[in-house]
């Protein structure tokens, strides 16, 4: 399907749906389903804005295959030790930045609130998604997702995807 022939409103609806589903799976702790929103040969990174602005490559989380996304989740479930917590994503309206025949690039602001067993919620991570979305095997999926975050003082640790 040539994405550039689709009406803008339809594209935006698909983009918005995918980004909302991404947030919901994480917030609802359905992490095993999360990698399925990505193509096999994907990129996913969570990177501090201070590095992005300076052209420095280090990301807090960097995955370059769907297998690595699965490994992150298996590690979270079976190996890592972290405070019990929930995420709550608050997502802005997406803006379509670019439409190519095979992909659409969208920018979306996000806030991730975190709640631990103290019961208090706080802003854990504020940033911007830069998403490259493709239509593959009958579905819209992420080929690349970057979460570039302003909150570069990470509270305690980061185990869950943003």
């Amino acid at each position: 399907m040539d994405l550039s022939t689709l009406p803008r409103t339809e594209l935006l609806r698909e983009v918005t749906d995918l980004i909302a589903l991404h947030a919901e799976l994480i917030d609802d702790d359905q992490l095993e389903a999360w990698p399925d929103l990505f193509v096999e040969d994907c990129h996913y990174s969570v990177l501090p804005r201070e590095n992005a602005d300076r052209g420095l490559p280090v990301a807090t989380i960097f995955c370059d295959s769907r297998g690595m996304l699965v490994d992150r989740i298996v590690s979270l479930r079976r190996a890592n030790i972290f405070p019990v917590h929930h995420y709550r994503h608050i997502i802005s309206t997406s803006r379509i930045h670019e439409v190519r025949s095979d992909a659409v690039v969208a920018h979306t602001n996000y806030l991730v609130l975190q709640t631990r067993n103290t019961g208090r919620s706080f802003v854990y991570n504020a940033g911007k998604y830069v998403d490259e979305i493709v239509f593959s095997s009958g579905k819209f999926l992420f080929r690349s997702k970057k979460a570039i975050f302003d909150t570069d003082l990470i509270d305690t640790l980061m185990v869950r995807p943003i």
Binding site: L56, P57, T60, F62, G67, A79, N80, T156
Partner: protein
């Protein structure tokens, strides 16, 4: 005869009711009195504190703002390439002079009243010094030379920059000692390039992290990912050694030096030995052997505020910045070598998933520090018990020891004092 100091330091208390070992009162982690005393006697005392990598300030005019303990400082590179470290506080009325984390400037200037300083901290001039139309101005005897920024002593070792407030402390390599110097030089063996920063805020006392990084005992028990993939096991060849003063520690291990069959026996019943877990994408652990000595993990803990590490192909400094008795910031700066090829760049970036605040073998340290902080209190009777490896500040040719933690506390006791400050 029993020396009170020694009972708490460990190993000598055989003639008392106390078991052998080192005991530290928990109020060292909670009381403001300790926090204030260590800022003065330790961070601003006779210690060398890490402030920057030279590669962070490569060009004349480059600066980096950072902290020694909680004192703000600026590292600058001067026109003649020399390095300076000055307190980031205007000599006039105390405003922060450098407000950016890093940048490049011809000189330092306070925005409040535009007092301007050379890159070495000397005061260059102040606006309206002679007043306006004969009115106002500074006193006639005002001497620029008397009002510069506070200057620290600075020394660099193979690209690591350290500073001290002390005029008395020995030169840097004497302070580090030959063993630590040698292993700093091993990692910092050629020019580096900065790959990026990560910052982590931990709700705990910084000394809990000083203990954590001198503790090879926890590594295979807390960090399950580590253990499962054989990156580090207590059965590996490794040592935990200290400099002569026992301030600093050098912990290393060699992956692949263990016998997998024997490991299941040693780790019998341990929740941390689950080898059924395999990676879908094993490229994460595909690295390159880059040191001829075969060492795959190095944690150098340099008293008081630096950890220099090599874990597989990740290279990083971790700088401790204190925020108060119950919190600190850990600034991770990852680097590679300037001559790394594209494949090596890719390996380091991928392996950076192992370290940092989201590192699959390091994130637990944040939680470990916090669960201690949450449970300790200023109850003067409550103390920890540190004795693995024999209960003394001893080097070990194995990884089941807490000797370097005891070495840390001996130095802390000498510099800050412990028992006499417990209220």
């Amino acid at each position: 005869m029993l020396n009170v100091q020694d009972t708490a330091v460990g190993k000598v208390s055989t003639d008392t009711e106390e078991p052998i070992g080192c005991r530290i009162p928990y109020s060292v982690f909670t009381d403001d009195a300790f926090y204030k005393a260590e800022q003065e006697h330790l961070f601003r005392g006779p210690t060398w504190n890490f402030v920057a990598l030279e590669a962070e300030v490569p060009n004349p005019g480059d600066f980096k703002s950072t902290f020694i303990g909680d004192t703000p400082v600026v590292v600058t590179r001067d026109k003649d390439q020399s390095l300076h470290v000055v307190v980031n506080r205007c000599a006039h009325r105390g405003a922060t002079v450098c407000r950016a984390r890093q940048g490049n400037v011809p000189h330092l200037e306070c925005v409040y009243h535009q007092w301007a300083y050379e890159l070495n901290g000397d005061l260059m001039g102040v606006p309206f010094r002679r007043g306006i139309k004969g009115k106002g101005g500074m006193p006639a005897d005002f001497d620029l030379k008397q009002h510069g920024l506070v200057k620290l002593r600075v020394e660099a070792l193979n690209g690591l920059v350290f500073a001290t407030f002390s005029q008395e402390v020995e030169p840097l390599t004497d302070y580090l000692g030959p063993l630590i110097t040698k292993h700093v030089e091993r990692i910092m063996c050629r020019p580096i390039k900065i790959l990026g920063n990560q910052r982590q805020f931990i709700h705990g006392n910084w000394k809990l992290y000083a203990e954590n990084t001198r503790d090879p005992y926890h590594a295979s028990l807390l960090h399950l990912f580590h253990n499962t993939f054989g990156l580090y096991r207590s059965t590996q060849t490794g040592e935990c050694l200290m400099d002569e003063s026992k301030r600093h520690s050098f912990l290393y291990s060699k992956a692949g030096s263990n016998d997998a069959a024997r490991d299941s026996e040693v780790y019998q019943d341990s929740r941390s030995f689950d080898t059924s877990f395999s990676l879908q994408d094993p490229s994460l652990l595909a690295g390159r052997s880059e040191f001829p000595d075969g060492i795959t993990l190095v944690i150098l803990a340099l008293y008081p505020n630096l950890i220099l590490q090599q874990i597989s192909n990740t290279l990083a400094v971790r700088q401790i910045v204190t925020h108060g008795p119950d919190s600190f910031e850990l600034v991770w700066t990852q680097f590679g070598y300037a001559d790394d090829d594209a494949e090596m760049d890719a390996i380091r970036l991928k392996q950076s998933n192992l370290i940092g605040p989201a590192g699959m073998i390091s994130m637990e340290d944040g939680e470990a520090v916090e669960i201690v902080q949450q449970a300790v209190s200023s109850d003067r009777k409550a103390r920890s018990y540190i004795a693995m490896g024999g209960g003394g500040a001893d080097d070990a040719d194995h990884l089941v020891t807490e000797g370097a933690i005891i070495g840390f506390w001996q130095n802390y006791r000498e510099m800050v004092g412990i028992e006499e400050r417990v209220s």
